[in-house]
Amino acid sequence: MTHTNLLTVSDLTVHRGAAKILDRVNLSIAKGETLALVGESGAGKSTIATALMQLLDGAEVEGRAELQEAGDLLSLPARQMVKLRGRRLSMIFQDAGAALNPAYTVGRQLTTTLRRNLGLTRSAAHAKAIELFTSVGINDAEARLSAFPHQLSGGMQQRVMVAIALACNPDLLLADEPTSALDVTIQAQIIRLILSLTRERGASCIFVLHDLALASQSCDRIVVLYAGQVVESGPARDVLTHHRHPYTRQLESCVVEIGRHDLVAPEGAVPPHDQMPKGCRFATRCPRALDRCAVEAPPLTPANPARTGALDHVFACWNPE
């Protein structure tokens, strides 16, 4: 399967000063696939997305991220990276209101992207912008082009961001918690919009989310991260229903609690970067922790040894469920 992967990330490690933010993360995404990165804040989900875009300032990045027909995203020279951004890779940000330049109209921000990346003329870019705005569900697209970001609602701003991100038909879309700044009702709309548009275009999509249920509903595969490491990954349904790692269970039960109007986050907190345990990083918060967990880090193990391949369900735990 690996040879058909659009993107293969191997041993992605990120240091910021003495802190190790990501520790040997491996993941891959096939063409047209949607992948969710799930975990608490501080798990390093967003760092993966920013590192892939080479937008991570002031950090040391190691490892490889092979994008089909482009090479290693982590070591590409800046000039070549500029050419990939927006064209083959694009990104949607958490807070669309802050990610749109307040000084320019949303139309200008979209048409500049079209004109610069695709070489369209002014009028062709204008026509294409109207088409894109309509496709992301913005009514009265022509009039909205001349709106400034602050004149639009949060949902509208995120639709504009989606339009800009998909403007040049990228192969891979990185959506960094695209709905965390929005109302719950609009969240679902935006996620559905991103999914249908990427599917329509055959693009792959990496969603950064902290909601396991949302991830399993919308994505093909899920990667669960804890303190900068992958602790479990596999097909969405397997990870949600047959999870083996106790942390995935906590994330899942956390969702159930919301249903009961009784929000309980996983107890405790991620250990600080300078006090990372030698063994399993989750051991300090784990109800199933053994003596071994504190001293020896568990490797990623196939959940179903009979089946092998990139889509396989793997987890890292000495005492799995």
Partner: protein, 316 residues
């Protein structure tokens, strides 16, 4: 927006009234009797009284103010007692353009040198270049401009003979000669502002470059020069324009010294000689022109905010 603008203009008129009445009043309170100065050391009581009456100095304060204000608006600014010339011609037509030209050139130098230097320092934050520009800026702020002026005259004017050391030629009449004459005084006056704009640009741009919309611009494939100049610098325009407006007072103050050092016949020089000669009319005219300039520029600064930041356009 129109209502906002009209409100601002109304405010400006009130400020102008206060400034003018204060200037008028303060000069009345200043020690030294202009009548005595004009009459010399020996004079008769009648001569004193008749000149006082001729100059209208025997009337009440408010009448004198109203009289002066009405004449002022009509361009009748009286005559300079010592120079015996029309103050309107002397101040408004001759001195003001010189000062405006000097201010224009030093502001242009400050922006043309300060903004790029600040942008480079922000982009190359914490490098040798940034440290060097910080030292330059600190020196520029601390160094007295008149001393710098003298040094510039000595080096470029006297030693190298590249630039004229003094005198004024209007660049609006003789373009190149005028600019040539403005380079040394313009640079002298602008050092402080170059330094200030460099630091301000650096600080504001570093902050703006942290904004998510900068990362978003990079994420959609904008090259770094566009990210910095189109997305970054556009958003520091407001603090920059605000500071420039507020620092115009400092700039106008600076013109006094610069005009003296370079012997430019501007408002600064006019005010200096008028204060020494206790010429009320000339001082008033000079102060009011300076105040008008300051207030007018800051009105423009206020009115420019909605242009600079679209978010301010919709505010009621």
């Amino acid at each position: 927006m129109l209502v906002q603008a009209l409100g601002k203009i109304g405010q400006t008129l009130v400020v102008l009234f206060i400034v003018s009445i204060a200037t008028f009043g303060l000069l009345k309170l200043a020690p030294g009797d202009p009548v005595q100065i004009m009459l010399g050391s020996e004079y008769s009581q009648e001569a004193y009284e008749s000149l006082t009456a001729e100059m209208g100095l025997d009337r009440s304060f408010l009448v004198q103010y109203a009289d002066w204000a009405i004449n002022f608006v009509q361009g009748d600014w009286g005559t300079s007692f010592v120079a015996r010339t029309d103050i309107f011609t002397y101040g408004f037509k001759e001195a003001l353009p010189v000062t405006l030209t000097l201010a224009f050139f030093s502001l242009s130098f400050a922006i043309l040198i300060g903004v790029p230097l600040g942008v480079l320092s922000a982009v190359k934050k914490d490098t040798a270049f940034d440290a060097g520009s910080a030292v330059f800026a600190l020196t520029g702020t601390a160094f007295p401009s008149f001393l710098l002026g003298i040094l510039l005259i000595w080096f470029f004017g006297v030693r190298l003979g590249w630039f004229p050391v003094m005198g004024y030629v209007s660049p609006w009449e003789e373009f190149w000669t005028g600019i040539y004459h403005m380079i040394l005084p313009g640079l002298t006056l602008s050092t402080y502002f170059i330094a200030m704009i460099t630091r301000l640009t650096r600080a504001s741009l570093i902050e703006v470059l942290e904004e998510p919309y900068i990362a978003a611009a990079r994420a959609r494939g904008e090259p770094s020069w566009r990210v910095i100049w189109v997305h970054g610098v556009r958003n520091i325009a407001m603090p920059l324009v605000t500071i420039l407006g507020l620092q115009l007072g400092t700039l106008l103050q600076g013109t006094v010294l610069t005009e003296t050092v370079f012997n430019l016949p501007g408002i600064g020089q006019m005010l200096t000689s008028a204060v020494l000669g206790r010429e009320y009319g000339v001082v008033q005219a000079g102060v009011i022109m300076t105040a008008l300039l300051f207030i007018g520029v800051n009105l423009l600064v206020d009115l420019s905010y909605p242009i600079l930041d679209p978010r301010l356009r919709d505010r009621k």
